[in-house]
């Protein structure tokens, strides 16, 4: 027993040490940023020191963004930093750690805007240009510019358009959202509703919440189709919604009879695209979003170096889908691209994330 306790204590000590080392992660990455600093001066004149901080680094989505930033660096001979908190929870302290250095711009995809806000405030006060992504609902005082892949309403309208085409505008549709309080999911669905009402005879049965769980959209699709066999169109919002719905539809023997579209990713529903249960899903490419943030940061820094401000109308970013930007109506510092990608059997190989 005594021995056992000792072993346990040793194990605990090893784990704590490991945690300590893990804590060193961000500062190590900062060193990577320093090497970028060394490169300053050579290259094509104005090389800025820019960091891109994702929500978290451990998921496929942001690994794709990392690929984009790396590709950008390779293409342009730059050495911009890509790094962040593994699971997102300590993103704010990661960014705060970065501020010890002299950055020209920091691009962040906020994990928790509340805890990040004071840090971004500090960065702005220190003269660092702050660019955010997927943060349109954040208070605009905390960023210089926020860049979004698309206007939510346009994105949602596209789903309705696709469904109307697939069903010839007749029938009953249902919608899934990850959370009934999710602003973006509901904006997509509201826009789709408006399009259905104007351009088809389709009737909405309801909007249902899935909690981002495949099992939930699967069970609800079976339940709803059992009670309402007339359903012939399903719109998903969370990335797992269409996968669960497609499995239910396929088990019920309805592949091809019930149209399914929605937001998703190849890694989640690629097999249903291949077998045709899902006609097409939509997504925006995080690799391009990463490039767009960097490009926007450079554009803002260039404009400020010339003594002016960014002219949104004439700005074109070298990232697919962000060639032209529109400023938000309420908040002109929120910029929208047109970076929606409709993924089908034909182009799926290009969007393998």
């Amino acid at each position: 027993m005594k021995n056992f306790k000792r072993i346990f204590a040793l194990g605990a000590a090893v784990m704590m040490t490991a945690t300590l080392f893990a804590g060193c992660g961000p500062s190590n990455s900062n060193d990577g940023g320093n090497s970028g600093d060394d490169n300053q001066g050579d290259g094509d004149g104005a090389t800025y020191k820019i960091a891109v901080v994702p929500k978290m680094t451990n998921i496929g989505w942001f690994q794709r963004m990392e690929e984009g930033v790396k590709a950008y660096n390779a293409d342009n001979g730059t050495d911009y930093l890509y790094g962040g908190s593994t699971e997102g929870a300590d993103q704010a302290s990661y960014v705060e750690g970065l501020l010890a250095e002299d950055w020209d711009a920091i691009c962040v995809v906020p994990f928790d805007s509340q805890s990040l806000a004071p840090v971004l405030q500090k960065a702005k006060e220190a003269g660092v240009v702050v660019i955010t992504h997927e943060a349109a609902s954040m208070d605009p005082q905390y960023f210089d510019y926020d860049i979004e892949a698309f206007v939510n309403a346009d994105y949602g309208t596209n789903f309705a358009k696709q469904l109307v085409e697939l069903t010839n505008g007749e029938g009953t549709y249902i919608q899934f959202v990850g959370d009934l309080n999710s602003v973006s999911h509901n904006e997509w669905c509201d826009a789709a509703d408006a399009y259905f009402a104007e351009n088809s005879n389709m009737v909405k049965l309801g909007r249902y919440e899935t909690g981002d769980q495949t099992t939930s959209s699967y069970n609800q699709t079976k339940e709803l189709l059992t009670a309402h066999p007339e359903i012939n169109a399903i719109e998903g919002s969370a990335s797992t919604d269409v996968a669960g719905a497609a499995q239910a539809v396929s088990e019920l023997g309805l592949s091809g009879q019930v149209a399914i579209v929605g937001t998703s990713m190849t890694t989640i529903c690629g097999n249903y695209i291949e077998d045709g249960t899902i006609a097409s899903f939509s997504v925006w490419d995080p690799a391009e979003a990463g490039k767009a943030m960097i490009e926007l940061a450079i554009a803002v820094l260039d404009a400020r170096a010339a003594g002016g401000e960014l002219d949104v109308a004439s700005t074109s970013l070298a990232a697919v889908g962000y060639e032209s930007l529109t400023a938000g109506e309420g908040t002109p510092t929120v910029l929208y691209g047109n970076a929606r990608v409709d993924v089908t059997k034909d182009n799926m190989a290009n969007y393998n994330f």
Binding site: M1, F4, K5, F8, A22, N58, I59, G60, T86, E87, L180, G206, R207, Y208, E209, T214, T215, Y218, N219, Q220, K222, E223, L224, L225, T226, A227, P229, T240, A243, G244, Q247, E251, L252, G253, L254, M265, T267, I268, C269, G270, N271
Partner: protein, 337 residues
């Protein structure tokens, strides 16, 4: 005569009977609102939807009866579903159903042993111990193997997914409702555990240590070993259940099951398990799971707006818990007489 009447009254107002009334009323209400409910399709849908809940609830029930609690099984399950598919994807595990389930159960075993050590040897409070195991499991998994979604099953698991017990075809709509062969897993688990809990020294010992660990020890039960068994059983069975989840949902992620622990514990409590240990049985747990699955998968049929559904689930849980708690009080009172 009076004793016979009393016996009948007791039987009609026992915890399982009350749950059966609640379930019956719920079914009647749904079928009035939605006649489509009264179809073999509903039975298949509920049977299919309840597979994971049932297996996990049996795991949890054994631990609760032994006087503990295990909140680590969702995280352990995630490790058990993720690692085998990850290894297979990287060519390090053969594409074989037994390899997948074997490794999943082995992973469950490891974490079960960890829980067992923490609770029975180090005497940590089970809630804290299993919470720690949960964090270590999910955090360690992400650190070691990263996160990915495996949504394409290896051929052997895909073949298993395609084996069905029965397929019901609705005459009116032509929809097919397949019931997977894996439905037999929770059925077998329930039968085996009902026998074990009732008729073996092991089962009686679990009740004994859950009721009063000291008294059980004096009576000659090996408390430590029995606690160990409870957590190991929970881990192994949760590992297997997680692999069933992956097979049936075509999904293996590092977070798929996270957050399921509370609803499972609720199913046990509604089914008559007491969190203080020593009470509960397989029959009650089955009814608890049935009630929760019914409610979770039929609120749309009932026409309850989505915004009210979480509230409605809470209400049914509360009702179930109150009924079983009143029942427990009544029993103690009767015992005193």
């Amino acid at each position: 005569m009076t004793t016979q009447n009393q016996k009948l009254k007791m039987a009609l107002t026992s915890t399982p009977m009350i749950l059966i009334y609640v379930i019956a009323v719920f079914c009647i209400v749904v079928s009035i609102r939605q006649p489509a409910f009264l179809s073999p399709a509903t039975a298949i849908n509920i049977g299919r939807a309840g597979i994971f809940t049932m297996c996990f609830a049996i795991c949890e029930m054994v631990v609760i009866i032994s006087g503990g609690i295990d909140v680590s099984f969702p995280a352990v399950g995630c490790v058990a579903m993720y690692v085998p598919l990850y290894l297979n994807y990287h060519g390090m595990l053969p594409d074989n159903v037994f390899a997948f389930f074997g490794l999943a159960m082995f992973i469950g075993l490891i974490f079960g042993i960890l829980n067992g050590i923490l609770v029975s040897y180090l005497k940590l409070p089970p809630l804290i111990a299993t919470l720690a195991t949960s964090s270590i499991a999910s955090g360690g998994l992400i650190l070691a193997l990263g996160t990915r979604e495996f949504t394409t099953l290896p051929p052997s698991l895909e073949a298993l997914y395609r084996v069905n017990l029965v397929t019901y075809t609705d005459a009116a709509t032509g929809f097919t409702y397949p019931l997977t062969i894996l439905f037999l897993v929770p059925v077998a688990l329930c039968v085996v555990m009902a026998l074990v809990m009732h008729f073996t020294m092991l089962g009686r010992g679990l009740y004994a240590i859950g009721g009063d660990a000291n008294a059980a020890r004096i009576a000659g039960f090996n408390v430590r070993l029995l606690q160990f068994f409870a957590y190991i059983f929970c881990g192994v069975a949760a590992g297997a259940t997680a692999m069933i989840y992956t097979t049936l949902m075509h999904s293996s992620t590092t977070t798929a099951l996270m957050g399921d622990e509370m609803i499972i514990i609720a199913a046990c409590v509604v089914g008559g398990c007491r969190l203080t240990g020593g009470h509960g049985n397989v029959g009650g747990t089955i009814l608890g799971v049935l009630l929760i699955t019914l409610v979770q998968t039929n609120l749309n049929m009932l026409g309850i707006p989505t915004s009210w559904q979480t509230f409605a689930v809470g209400l049914v849980l509360l009702l179930g818990a109150i009924l079983t708690s009143i029942q427990a009080k009544r029993q103690t009172k009767l015992g005193k007489i």
